[in-house]
Symmetry: C2
Subunit: 378 residues, 2 copies
């Protein structure tokens, strides 16, 4: 099978970027990635975005990026899979090269959320649930869903709210060192434990924020020092009532299994991990579904510091969604950005000698997951 590589990465600052449009953000990230790649000829563009249409009445992001960057008449499209839109855009770029149709492809993801009134955000995010589901009309929201997961996890395993807070703290500590992160002010366990409650047991620091930002990656068939070892994707239940085990994210599990199989590797071979921590509990559950820890044991690893940058399973050295920020369509690609920086040895919270990294991006309440494994050559 053909090898596919990363030749460039680019990212805007994440946070509140009031005077910039969604198009501006996509173009900034894409320009940086293309420059990093040495401004190659690009054969196609995939844009990951979730709410450009509903929030800003702006679709056709693929063609907008192509036009704005002067990339000519190359094929382009937007792809959507809720919060996994970025990971899916990256995978479509990968498949496009694997198909032999394209040599070099730009994957760019972005979102602009800070301008949206808070009261509207929940309604907009809920487009990622099934409109015909009774549970949505009964009031289920994303924080509500993951709050239930957290309660179930604590009930089954003996984990406490403090374990969740340790995730939030670790990711904040990582973000402090990341110049592009949204939240760089230090926090402590007390502050996190006593923060405003969003949905029991998840407080403000347990929930990812709304964010403006964009990230981009250039993929190519021409050899570089960063090789994509595996790309995998799976779907999962779109309704809570169809989930068999609340402690297992099936789409994450399946996409992880597929990725490890393709790479010929196991969790023990991975040096650095970015996981979709839309909520603190999600990082724990996903780390278990990926096989890094046994079901119900992930919280112990957190307590032991094993997921810190100097631990044996460093997770979210970028600060994660919780503190780097979560501009939805950008997130999956920002994860790859961080992994590539780690493999290049120039990341914030650099993991010494990192050679193989994994990024996992989740969409909906488990409706989508992508897993990508990358390797530094030489």
């Amino acid at each position: 099978m053909m090898d596919i590589y990363v030749s460039g990465i680019g990212m805007t600052r994440f946070g509140k970027l009031q005077d910039r449009t969604l198009k501006d953000l996509l173009v900034e990230a894409a320009s940086k990635a293309l420059e990093d790649a040495g401004n190659p000829r690009v054969d196609a563009i995939f844009v990951g975005n979730y709410m450009g249409g509903i929030a800003y009445k702006q679709e056709i992001l693929g063609a907008l990026v192509a036009n704005e960057l002067g990339l000519g008449d190359v094929p382009s499209a937007k792809v959507e899979g809720a919060c996994a839109s970025g990971g899916i855009a990256f995978r479509q770029a990968y498949l496009g090269i694997l198909s032999g149709e394209y040599e070099t492809v730009l994957a760019v993801g972005g979102e602009k959320m800070k301008q949206i009134p808070t009261a509207e955000i929940t309604s907009l995010l809920n487009t990622g649930m099934d409109n015909q589901s009774n549970e949505k009309y009964a009031g289920l929201t994303f924080p509500g869903f993951f709050g239930v997961v957290a309660n179930r996890y604590m009930h089954e395993t003996g984990a406490t709210k403090e374990h969740l807070a340790m995730i939030a703290l670790k990711n904040r500590e990582n973000a402090v060192n990341n110049p592009l992160a949204q939240f760089r002010e230090p926090a402590d366990l007390d502050e996190i434990m006593n923060a405003k409650m969003i949905t029991e047991p998840l407080g403000l620091f347990d929930c990812s924020p709304t964010t403006d930002g964009a990230a981009a990656v250039v993929l190519t068939k021409h050899e570089t020092d960063i090789r994509i070892l595996a790309s995998a994707q799976a779907s999962g239940p779109t309704q809570m009532q169809n989930i068999e085990d609340l402690l297992t994210l099936n789409a994450v599990k399946r996409s992880g299994e597929l990725a490890f199989e393709k790479a010929g590797l196991g969790p023990e071979d991975i040096d650095v991990v970015e996981i979709h921590d839309c909520f603190s509990i999600t990082e724990i559950v996903a780390s278990e579904s990926l096989g890094f820890f046994e079901r119900g044991k992930g919280f112990e690893a957190v307590a032991e510091g094993r997921t810190k940058p100097d631990g044996d399973v460093p997770i979210n050295t970028s600060g994660g969604l919780l503190s780097r920020g979560h501009p939805i369509g950008a997130t999956g690609i920002a994860q790859i950005y961080q992994i590539v920086q780690q493999l290049r040895g120039i990341a914030p919270n650099q993991v010494e000698g990192a050679r193989i990294g994994l990024a996992q991006n989740l969409g909906g309440t488990g409706a989508y997951s992508t897993v990508h494994i990358l390797e530094r050559l030489g």
Copy 2:
């Protein structure tokens, strides 16, 4: 290169389907296509849709279709490229198989538009233009854009409003025989010429309607009697002021050239054509950009009856967007549906002995175009 085939097609009736949701429509079309294909194992799903988020607050259509059809944890995604969303979804399915990752893929597209108040439709459709373009804020709309194209065409070529009406009449005559078409009542040239003016010179019959509907195709690497000879896509200008020649749709021209090159064929080899006639003028201009007629000569071919089902370049035997209807995300896949029916010899307005067909799907004011060429084997 690997050969890729169509093994099944399915489509809902097009029109006003008040008691059905967007999900219902997608599932009906997909189920029919899967049944037509003998209910194979499906490895991935691509959904073409434009306004499910903004109009119905319903995204995650990929995972919804996967869940509803019980297709398990297969990868799925929505793709968007304005009115070319369906054609792009079909192409992503094609690339997925070509990459070797998937054997059999479901491409399904749908839209539900009739519930949207007329006053809102223009605003929703305008998400397919560039928000940062001064011309959008000066009041440019899709009918406005294609009205200008029509005026320029008439100015340069000597074509008249009657030539446009002949397109509308031909496509209506074709739709009368298509049991799935939106408009099946006969019309005559007088009625079309004297219909309510939408934007000079385009009257009501010159403009495609809003429509509810969905269409689906199953693609596979396993041989069937319908082979996909070529898949091509290109982007074009997203702003009118950047178009060099209003009589040439650059994305259509480029995607057509690429498709013909890949198939090793020319326009003269095509037996039956579906063209994106969002407006009557668009059918003429696109037929020229594809090379079926010289620039500025397409209207003469219409007047001579050459684009009727018994002509030498049969265009839109389905009734086209003008009379079959235009449920945006479905359109590109409904075109493939009609071409496959033609190649199978069972189409409404069957073209005798049709062996090679072409479908062209446009997005925005020329921002996207896909071209697919299919062939009947044996």
